[in-house]
């Protein structure tokens, strides 16, 4: 079985390096085909491993070679394929394969086609390292690796100029790329601190050494580690207040948004919390866990509120990603790790589908993303309409599609834990989710054909692309039925993944709770239908209202960061350079040098060449020396 571990891991790397060889040459379709085939290979290997883990019930642990060893620290390149990582591997490689094939069509006219595939496969490789590593340092390799790939891919169209934030809230691809990288780095520092804490208290970074040692550590250490690692997770999973980069990341090509900024990379934070569940389930850190759940719930609502009025198709989906990540953290924080992982997988399928559908729309609309300029697209784009419809139903949580099962389980968990405030917010958010999802569907595909005013002639995507998307559509529809099988499989080994069951009381009420959520979801859809299905009616009064403006400006958070962090930083930096470093530190050095120089220059006047002057100076010197000698002898 070991060889499949290596095949699954390294096939994308081979694909990336192969594509990189052609990175500076004109487009060659076979690069896309070969990368996709290698990704498919990786998927098959992952699937074989998954079957193996299902059948035998135990994982595979391989150690490839040493990486860093110094002092007592010993970090190998080690990989573990257990229930958690194999689930992630299957999800990641499956979505990646679809996205790779999709990109052959989507990036068809791009002159940097080859480079794109190189980056995309490199991303998958990093992501696999992240999920498969058997230690925190290896996880950090993947963690930073996906960060760099994300930087490269958000900034893929680096040649675009910067625009004012009023015209384009993300300014430019290269700006958005830098923002994503830097915000993630802030979180990474916290994550490193978490790693250091664990190292100095357990003497290792291997999961199988650290986790069993946790019960012997004191509260302060556990709490610090839990908080630090979670701040790391907040960066990657774009949780408030480190969330602004995710919507700006939509500057990247749409397949990238689908793969990285929806299905896989942004779930890395959730994965970390799930992986470190032995830490987060310690009773000593229950407050941290509850904070995670609360923050997740808050972000779910907060992001959904901004999606309500957004006009940019991709940004709407980005907000919904944020919101769903919030749901996942809510589940993980409440201890329902397997439910969080289940929602992570289901979400990956329908969210990738939604983004790829958005890519088709963008392609058809010649890169126009404003849904106010669309409408009636279902007449020309039947396939895409169908897919986006399926994905939106799944996202809204309508049975029997995947989102219903996974999201409902999270909401039920909140009820089961007795955290009724969280439960209420999550239920309301479910209604909002349904509303904004269908607002976007109706405005894009139904109603009057507003795009005609802008002289756009939309057309459906290539057939092979639509076919490539079908596995995601199928999974978005049926994945929910496998909830019980998944539950049984993932909790085979309770040390890796603790079980979570609803209480008897919740179980009895489950039907009513489900119906309540459903009422909110259907209510949201109906509202969206009433308002938008028959065309767009704009209401100036609403659009100028305070709340609308607040949401439109993302609660003024980006503006706040620009005004109170970026600008002061630049100002202080310039001041330190020009006023402190040049005027104080350096000027002091020059001042001392000048003093000697001037002193020398002045005393030079003694050298007059006049003998009687010299005799005078000799007398002065003699007197001083005698004085010194006298004082010295008196003292002694």
């Amino acid at each position: 079985m070991e060889k499949f571990v290596y095949i699954a891991l390294f096939a994308p790397l081979v694909g990336s390096l192969f594509a990189a060889l052609f990175g500076m040459t004109p487009k060659k379709t076979f690069i896309g085909v070969i990368s996709s085939l290698l990704l498919a290979t990786s998927f098959v290997a992952s699937a074989i491993l998954a079957t193996y883990v299902v059948q035998t019930g135990h994982g595979i642990h391989v150690t490839m070679m040493d990486w860093i060893s110094a002092g007592d620290l010993d970090i190998p390149f080690g990989f573990v394929v257990d229930q958690i990582s194999v689930t992630m591997m299957v999800v990641v490689t499956l979505v990646s394969t679809v996205v790779h094939i999709y990109s052959i069509g989507y990036m068809d006219h791009d002159k940097s086609f080859n480079r794109f595939f190189s980056y995309l496969s490199a991303f998958v490789f990093s992501m696999l390292i992240l999920v498969m590593s058997d230690n925190f340092a290896g996880l950090f390799i993947g963690w930073e690796g996906v960060g760099v790939c994300s930087w490269l891919l958000i900034g893929f169209w680096y040649h675009k100029p910067d625009e004012s934030p009023d015209v384009n809230p993300s300014i430019s691809p290269s700006w958005a790329a830098n923002e994503a990288f830097i915000v993630n780095r802030i979180a990474d520092l916290a994550m490193l601190v978490g790693i250091f804490v664990l190292y100095w208290s357990t003497g290792s970074l291997q999961y199988d050494v650290v986790f069993p040692a946790l019960p012997y550590l004191d509260d302060a250490i556990l709490t610090t580690a839990a908080i630090a690692l979670f701040i790391g997770a907040m960066g990657k999973s774009a949780q408030f207040p480190l969330h602004t980069w995710l919507t700006d990341a939509m500057e990247g090509p749409t397949p990238v948004s689908a793969l990285i900024h929806a299905a896989t990379m942004v779930t890395a934070g959730v994965f970390l919390v799930i992986r470190a569940n032995p830490l987060y389930s310690m009773p000593e850190v229950s407050e941290v866990s509850f904070f995670i759940a609360s923050l997740g719930t808050f972000v779910a609502f907060f992001a959904a509120s901004m999606a309500l009025i957004e006009r940019d198709l991709k940004r709407i989906i980005a907000y919904s990603t944020l919101s769903q990540l919030g749901y996942m953290f809510a589940a993980a924080g409440l201890g329902a790790y397997w439910i969080a992982l289940f929602h992570l997988a289901a979400h990956a399928f329908f969210k990738a589908l939604l983004f790829l559908g958005a890519g088709n729309v963008m392609h058809a609309m010649h890169d126009e993303l404003d849904i106010f300029k669309m409408g009636g697209l279902k007449r020309v784009m039947r396939g895409t309409y169908l897919y986006m419809g399926i994905a939106s139903i799944a996202l809204a949580g309508i049975p029997p599609f995947a989102g219903f099962f996974s999201k409902d389980a999270i909401i039920e968990t909140a009820f089961n834990e007795g955290t009724l405030v969280l439960w209420t917010i999550l239920v309301v958010t479910a209604g909002m989710t349904a509303f904004y999802s269908f607002r976007q569907v109706f405005l894009t595909f139904d109603g009057n054909e507003r795009y005609k005013e802008f002289n756009i002639h939309p057309h459906e995507m290539y057939k092979f692309v639509l076919i490539a998307m079908s596995p995601l559509a199928l999974l978005a529809m049926i994945a929910g039925f496998f909830q019980e099988e998944f539950h049984k499989f993932i909790t085979t080994s309770l040390e890796i993944m603790p079980n979570y069951e609803m209480s008897h009381h919740t179980h009895e009420l489950a039907l009513y709770l489900g119906i309540l959520v459903l009422i909110f979801a259907i209510g949201g859809i109906l509202l969206a239908y009433k308002k938008y299905a028959n065309g767009l009616v704009r209401n100036e009064k609403v659009e100028n209202s305070f709340i609308y403006q607040l949401l439109k400006n993302q609660y003024y958070i980006p503006a706040f960061y620009a005004e109170f962090i970026s600008k002061p930083y630049a100002l202080i930096s310039t001041m330190l350079w020009k006023s402190v470093d040049m005027k104080i530190v350096d000027a002091t050095v020059d001042g001392i040098a000048n003093m000697f120089y001037k002193g020398g220059d002045n005393t030079r006047k003694m050298q007059t060449g006049n003998l009687s002057n010299y005799l005078n100076w000799m007398a002065v010197g003699l007197v001083i020396m005698l004085l010194v000698a006298t004082i010295y002898t008196l003292k002694a």
Binding site: A70, G145, N178, I182, L192, I195, F196, W577
Partner: protein, 508 residues
């Protein structure tokens, strides 16, 4: 070859002397050949080095002034071995990448003399020999900056010379006093560092001596607030000067801490930790912020060097094997990466005659290979895992966490602030549309530049993925150093702070 170290030291110098008779047109080829042979010798040294032996190897001892115990005494251990190899490597690659035509012969000869002094400093085991090479290294550098530099070259080179020279004189006083103390205790004169190691000094003496040596090392590193000569030196120096200065000469200071301060004054070193920590943290954050404010690409790299040297200094005082090994590894990785970055700045300066960011923009589409290599070096500079930059930085921060979590977090901002100034630089230079039409037809890297840069890229990735061949010998020597310091320390505080690794504890 028992006298390999002498060969390594004096071969470039003798070849440099012979260089006077070489024809000007073949001076570059001559220089490259000599540097290649020197690098091969250095690699041979590495290959015959016993990585499991923590002590000094290839020792040579020739009495010079027996009455005062001054000997020509050289040797190499895991700590100095790789710095020697790196000095030889960077000299060779710097020469290959060099675009200077003017007075090329003088340049080659200066570089070969400089190579002698650099290698001499790192293998010297006698304080006087060490001091001689230390000071001699100033002369070729003074000439390189002063003769091939920019408009302010005279000011910059004299500032560089006098500033570091002043520090070195204080250091010399410290070294002489150390020898005097040794004589007063043992009755014989000795300048041998290994003899000095055996001397257990009272704590107050340790502190004074520590400070005297600190003056020499701190200016060389350069540590805040003694760093202001560096931006001038880099700003005015030709590319080759900056490459050697950043890659090798700055490491003399941090190497001095490891070779002298730690083992000679273990108690003082522990007492001085708070003082050093404050300076190092200021260095890291303050210069990273100044780097962000720069408009000149080369100044960004120059200030970033100071910031990274802060991390190295911090690691040196982590008092555990993780931190000190990391610090030495970071010396190497900073040498490789900053050397490469200075070469890269030189590439664009050769083409356009300017290093201002505002003159560029959109270079990624006209010079993709250049953008790629710059991108890789950028990532190594910000410490991306699987590049050479991560290993050292990670180990230093990890190691220092046991001394002070707060200081580690403050110092750890280097990974954020480093990304901030480097990404801003990259965005303004390489991304966006091409705004200046002079940049539209810039040629990409040529064969000469690629020959100099590709090996560095290979090393950056090789030692990022598999640092073991280098890290292991370093770690062996560092563990021995730590265990020695632990033995020698007198105060309880020092004994407690200097953390022995488990393997050594068990061996006892």
């Amino acid at each position: 070859m028992d006298n390999i170290l002498s060969v390594l030291i004096f071969f470039p110098a003798i070849a440099g002397l012979l260089g006077f008779v070489v024809d000007k047109s073949s001076a570059r080829v001559y220089g490259i050949s000599v540097a290649t042979v020197e690098l091969l010798l250095a690699i041979w040294l590495w290959m015959s080095f016993d990585g499991t032996n923590a002590g000094m190897q290839f020792i040579e001892l020739i009495p010079l002034v027996p009455d005062f115990g001054i000997n020509y005494y050289v040797g190499v251990d895991g700590i100095s071995l790789f710095i020697v190899v790196m000095a030889a490597l960077m000299t060779l690659l710097g020469m290959i990448g060099m675009s200077i035509e003017k007075d090329i012969k003088n340049m080659i000869i200066s570089l070969l003399f400089l190579e002698m002094t650099m290698i001499g400093v790192f293998v010297a085991l006698d304080a006087i020999v060490f001091y001689l090479f230390w000071e001699l290294s100033l002369v070729p550098m003074l000439y390189i900056i002063g003769a091939w530099g920019g408009p302010l070259r005279i000011y910059a080179s004299i500032k560089f010379f006098l500033y570091t020279f002043t520090g070195s004189l204080i250091m010399l006083v410290g070294l002489l006093f150390m020898a005097y103390l040794y004589q007063s205790v043992s009755g014989v004169w000795s300048f041998s560092i290994t003899d000095w190691y055996a001397l257990v000094l009272p704590v107050d003496y340790q502190i004074w001596l520590f400070l005297a040596l600190f003056a020499g090392f701190a200016i060389k590193v350069p540590m805040f607030p003694f760093h202001t000569w560096l931006p001038y030196a880099h700003g005015q120096a030709p590319t080759i000067g900056s490459v050697i200065l950043a890659a090798v000469l700055l490491k003399m200071g941090t190497y001095g801490f490891v070779r002298f301060s730690l083992p000679l004054f273990p108690d003082a070193s522990v007492i001085m930790i708070p003082f050093i920590t404050v300076i190092a943290v200021i260095m890291i954050i303050y210069t990273a912020m100044i780097a962000y404010a720069q408009e000149d690409i080369k100044q960004v790299i120059a200030y970033s060097s100071v910031s990274h040297m802060g991390v190295i200094v911090l690691g040196t005082f982590a008092m555990n094997a993780e931190g000190i090994s990391g610090s030495i590894f970071l010396m190497l990785s900073h040498g490789i990466v900053s050397g490469a970055l200075f070469m890269l700045v030189g590439v664009i300066y050769d083409r356009r005659g300017t290093k201002m960011m505002s003159e560029f923009g959109g270079l990624a589409s006209v010079m993709p290979k250049y953008a790629l290599i710059f991108g890789i070096m950028l990532m190594a500079s910000v410490g991306l895992p699987l590049t050479i930059g991560f290993v050292g930085e990670f180990l230093v921060l990890l190691g220092f966490y046991s001394i002070s979590p707060i200081a580690t977090i403050l110092a750890g901002t280097t990974i954020i602030l480093g990304a901030v100034y480097m990404l801003r630089l990259y965005k303004r230079t390489f991304f966006g549309p091409i705004t200046n039409e002079k940049n539209e037809n810039l040629p990409d890297l040529n064969g000469r530049e690629l020959t100099a840069l590709v090996p560095l890229v290979a090393i950056v990735i090789w030692l990022g993925v598999y640092p073991k061949p280098v890290l292991e010998p370093i770690d062996t020597s560092v563990k021995a150093l730590i265990s020695f310091m632990h033995e020698k320390a007198q105060t309880a505080e020092a004994k407690e702070t200097i953390i022995l690794s488990k393997t050594i504890k068990e061996a006892k």
